[in-house]
């Protein structure tokens, strides 16, 4: 048997990290070349460790790994971008966490997907650059679903293939797109969308991340998009995305519904 390479390098984004032992960290990397993989960064929590910063969430860099018996070992790292702008803003942190968690739960270990990697990276840059975090998240969700083979159908009815009228736009998260009321009763889970929301969804499905900079959406469109896409993603993922709850908790601060001191 030919001897496999003992070390390799990968361009990656840190999706997750868990502290283990006194000073170590197990890091989930989403690599461009090899997909999602975990590696141990020894001593990464020590005061002067060079791996400390490089294994922080969302960090984009080049990682050098050694093949280990159970886990590969991250030996060196070169940070390309640490996204300080995301770290300075709670809402951006929340949304960056959300899209990282989506990738983490959606992809299989060691299955490379260059397009998904590039989309994740551009989305992080958009968050860093101050683009509305909600728009970045909706765009990422739609792009990711498309890349995974779940592009929602927005033009024809999923049941009868006919083009439904735009008077009543019914979106079914479980079926994955629009349905019309003519070929049968509407499914229980339909969410009604306005024409504006439908247009925005079409735009987000085709837009390059850079095009999001100039997009501003009214609150009602954002709300409809959020409901339709969140249910769609949740349906395909078949589990809750934990960080989406935090986004909602954040929205509550200042509205009087936040945590109150106990009387």
């Amino acid at each position: 048997m030919a001897e496999a390479a003992r070390t390799y390098r990968a361009t990656a984004i840190v999706l997750r990290r868990i502290n283990i032992g006194e000073t170590d960290r197990v890091v989930t990397l989403y690599t461009r070349e090899r997909g999602k993989l975990s590696g141990i960064a020894k001593g990464a929590r020590k005061h002067l460790s060079k791996l400390a910063g490089a294994t922080e969430l969302f960090t984009y860099g080049r990682y050098f790994l050694g093949v280990g018996r159970e886990l590969d070992v991250i030996t060196q790292a070169e940070v390309k971008e640490s996204f300080p702008g995301i770290r300075r803003d709670l809402k951006r942190i929340a949304h960056a966490t959300y899209i990282s968690e989506l990738v983490n739960s959606m992809v299989e270990e060691r299955e490379a997907n260059y397009d998904l990697f590039d989309t994740l990276l551009s989305s992080l840059y958009m968050l860093e650059g101050g683009v509305d975090p909600e728009i970045v998240a909706r765009h990422f969700e739609l792009q990711m679903m498309s890349l995974m083979g779940y592009r929602p159908e927005l033009d024809t009815c999923l049941r009868c293939d006919k083009q439904p009228s735009d008077e009543e736009i019914a979106f079914s998260p479980s079926l994955g797109g629009r349905v019309c009321g003519e070929c049968g009763p509407l499914p229980d889970d339909v969410i009604y969308l306005s024409n504006d929301t439908l247009d925005v969804m079409r735009f987000l499905l085709s837009a390059e991340p850079q095009a999001l900079k100039d997009l501003h959406l009214p609150p009602d469109v954002k709300e409809e998009l959020f409901r339709a896409i969140r249910w769609y993603v949740r349906y395909r993922l078949d589990k809750d995305v934990k960080s989406s709850e935090f986004i909602q908790a954040l929205a509550a601060v200042g509205t009087g519904e936040e945590l109150q001191a106990e009387e």
Binding site: R16, G21, E22, H47, L48, K50, A52, G53, A54, E56, L57, F58, T59, V79, E81, S82, P84, R87, R88, D89, L90, I93, A94, T97, Y98, S100, E101, N104, K242, S243, E245, F246, I247, A249, L250, V253, G254, E258, L259, Q260, A261, E262
Partner: protein, 201 residues
């Protein structure tokens, strides 16, 4: 079976401790076996003692063996300053400085959205309640400079400002270069922080 049953049981229990592998567990077990009756009794008592006597201080949520912890009861502490930390061990680290003379509040963790730890799971309600009794004028947030620590600090600062306005001063401990560090070895994020938190001389 390598060990006699009682010995195997001890090795098994020791192995469950953090950072203890099979080899270390074996070494510890043999050490305990060889130690005097009195020595091993002290260990047994110490373990039993922490389990029966240590509880959480109802004010600051640090560990204590009294109704209210020593720091909260100390009349010499400055009751106008409150330092918010994530864990009891962070409080210990702050105390070791001998510089800080105010009170503490232990959150019991940090906000970690991916692990499903939201603000409602930390001692934040209890923190807000303290402003009703104590004469707190300043809050120092001392969470780690990690994404979770940053998120927790920003969330708290936001909440405190929205609840109390400008009546209370909110700050966060500085982060940047560690003492004895080397610029050449510092990563991008650390240096950016160091620049941002610089101060005039």
């Amino acid at each position: 079976m390598y060990y006699a049953k009682p010995l195997a049981k001890l090795v098994g229990e020791l192995e469950k401790l953090p950072g203890i592998g099979p080899k270390s567990a074996q070494r510890l077990a043999f050490h305990i076996l060889r130690s005097s009756e009195e020595e091993s009794r002290r260990l047994v008592d110490a373990i039993a003692d922490v389990k029966t006597h240590i509880k959480m201080c109802p004010v600051c949520f640090n560990f204590t063996d009294k109704d209210t912890c020593d720091i909260c009861r100390d009349p010499k502490r400055d009751r106008s300053i409150l330092c918010v930390v994530a864990e009891p061990r962070d409080l210990v680290a702050m105390e070791k400085t001998n510089e800080y003379k105010g009170l503490y509040h232990v959150l019991g963790g940090v906000i970690s959205p991916m692990d499903g730890v939201g603000p409602e799971m930390l001692k934040i309600r209890e923190l807000l309640a303290r402003f009703k009794q104590d004469e707190i004028k300043e809050v120092i947030i001392a969470t780690n400079p990690t994404i979770e620590g940053d998120a927790t600090a920003m969330y708290l600062a936001d909440l405190l400002k929205k609840t109390f306005g400008t009546d209370i001063k909110v700050s966060r401990i500085a982060h940047g270069m560690p003492v004895g560090g080397d610029l050449d070895y510092a990563d991008q994020a650390t240096l950016i922080q160091a620049l941002e938190w610089r101060r005039e001389m």
